[in-house]
Amino acid sequence: MPREKSAVYRDLSDAVLNLEEEKAAATAQEVVAAGYDAYEAIDQGLADGMARAGKLFEEDEYFVPELLIAADAMYAGLGVLRPHIKIDQSRAPGRVVIGVIEGDTHDIGKNLVKIILEAKGFETRDLGRDIPPAAFAQAAREFNAEIIAISTLMTTTMAGMEKVISLLKDGGDRDKFRVMVGGAPISATFAEKIGADGYAANAVEAGELAVRLVSELRGGIRD
């Protein structure tokens, strides 16, 4: 006799929050065995747990080690559930091309943003680190991305972010994308100055920003 769906989803969420990778995978197997909806389990279980972990990160209860291990648990559950998502439910809330700009190989912040975006259901194409501006523009077009997320930790590489935007303008398709930027030396003022659409101070904010930017893009809003 399978357990109540809500109890299973709660266990999935708790497994992520409590950094229990094996429990997340085992509970995801339970979802499949019980015939519960995989998309719903991801949304109400794994993503919920990651959101709770993100909240603790914002409240300085969790730090980078905890967030990384919570993500490991989330991905362990996702690995089980993804093959069982029904096709009509698999549409992501948005597509994101993400990477660290050329000249910089610090990618832990980018990786955290990617985790939060995926927890929110975004489909991501991770370009990695040390990525030339032209590669961002090209990948965004090929991937039909709505968001281009660019990160850097260094003051010396900030200028590459502006280059991505100018390449989109040169290509005549700047309005097809929303560009968000982040990283230690970046600020909202800098983002505005280079013509980016948004800035996030941390991974959790980046997830919220991406949702807002996609909504704006689909609504045809531009400041």
């Binding site: 950094l19 300085d60 730090f63 980078v64 080690p65 905890e66 990384l68 291990i69 490991d72 000249g103 910089d104 190989t105 832990i108 990786n111 040390d130 260094m154 003051t155 010396t156 590489t157 230690a184 030396p185 600020s187 003022t189």
Partner: protein, 340 residues
């Protein structure tokens, strides 16, 4: 008083004829304004020392760092792959080891014979001989958690802190000995202050508990070794360290170097009489983007607010970009000369 006497007075918490002031690191900035890339300067110790010496003579900061901007050379000596850039500091491409189980103590022997590091130590020696009477000559290194991240990747080490304490401790002990292998020759070359930088140990990255359990004890070991050689120690951790000021202080450092995210007013209260502190003008929004007049005003305000106990050093909150105008640097240092 010489510049060196002024900053040593601040480190000792004693009055001087004016407040102390210095740039932090600034190797990249010093070379960039002469059109030199870090990679070019590395292999020309005589030229590198000349640039650093003439720069400090020109700007009249109180301290000059030898060989900053090269913090990836230590992992390269141990086997990491790094990449030099046309602009900026080199990047780490591939860490030294794939995982903690592969730590190889014999690799530490490579440090002493590494060609690049020997050029850095030679630069430091030349600089000390040239300007060490007048200016405090410092050296610097990433340490402990940050070097551990260079050894096995930051993400692996972060996970190990939570899931595998023995592995984390093994990596951090390895990192500690690697740091000492790198820093000790600087002391033999005449550096009189060691700036330990551990940005990965920030409150933006790890909890106070992990800092207390894994990091602070190893900082103290380094501090004790450096003190035993007669040099002073500065500890810099980027980002928010408000919750760990006491732990940083208790490692025995002489100076805490603080980022712009830190409120210096409570720091002054916590440190009174027990250590000096330095900071914390924003390297980008102030040093790069503000006008010289604004920088001078902000510098004077900082000295007024924090300089009352004679243990405050006016400094940017971190290393400055290579493109900061000379006038902005001079404005910062002028602010200190305008106080007494």
């Amino acid at each position: 008083m010489t510049n060196k006497e002024i900053i040593l007075s601040a480190i000792a918490g004693k009055p001087a004829e004016r407040n102390a002031a210095t740039l932090m690191s600034a190797g990249l900035w010093s070379f960039a304004r002469r059109g030199l890339k870090l990679q070019d300067a590395l292999y020309q110790p005589e030229l590198a020392a000349d640039v650093l010496a003439s720069t400090i003579e020109e700007i009249q900061g109180d301290m000059v760092y030898a060989a900053t901007g090269y913090y990836q050379l230590l992992p390269r000596a141990l086997g990491a792959k790094i990449k030099f850039r046309p602009n900026g500091v080199p990047d780490l491409d591939v860490p030294v080891f794939a995982d903690p189980s592969q730590l190889d103590p014999s690799r530490l022997d490579r440090i002493a014979g590494d060609e690049g590091l020997n050029f850095l130590w030679e630069t430091a020696g030349r600089l000390a001989k040239r300007v060490g009477q007048k200016f405090l000559v410092a050296c610097g290194s990433f340490v402990v958690l940050t070097v551990g991240g260079q050894i096995v990747s930051v993400e692996q080490l972060m996970r190990a802190l939570r899931r595998d304490a023995p592995a984390a401790n093994a990596v951090l002990d390895y990192a500690l000995e690697a740091c000492w292998g790198y820093l000790e020759p600087f002391l033999r070359s005449g550096s009189e202050l060691v700036s330990l930088a551990d940005p990965t140990a920030s409150g933006d990255m790890i909890s106070r508990r992990y800092f207390a359990d894994f990091i602070a004890p190893r900082h103290k070991i380094l501090v004790d070794r450096i003190h035993a050689r007669g040099a002073k120690v500065m500890l810099h951790i980027c980002g928010d360290v408000n919750d760990r000021i006491n732990l940083m202080r208790d490692s025995g450092v002489d100076v805490l170097s603080l980022d712009f995210k830190v409120d210096l007013a409570p720091v002054r209260e916590q440190l009174r009489g027990r250590a000096a502190f330095a900071g914390n003008l924003d390297p980008v929004r102030v040093m790069l983007q503000a006008t010289p007049d604004e920088i001078r005003r902000l510098g004077r305000e900082s000295i007024k607010k924090y300089g009352g106990d004679h243990n405050y050093i006016l400094m940017p909150g971190c290393d400055i970009p290579g493109t900061v105008p000379l006038e902005n640097v001079k404005a910062l240092l002028a602010a200190a000369r305008e106080t007494n």
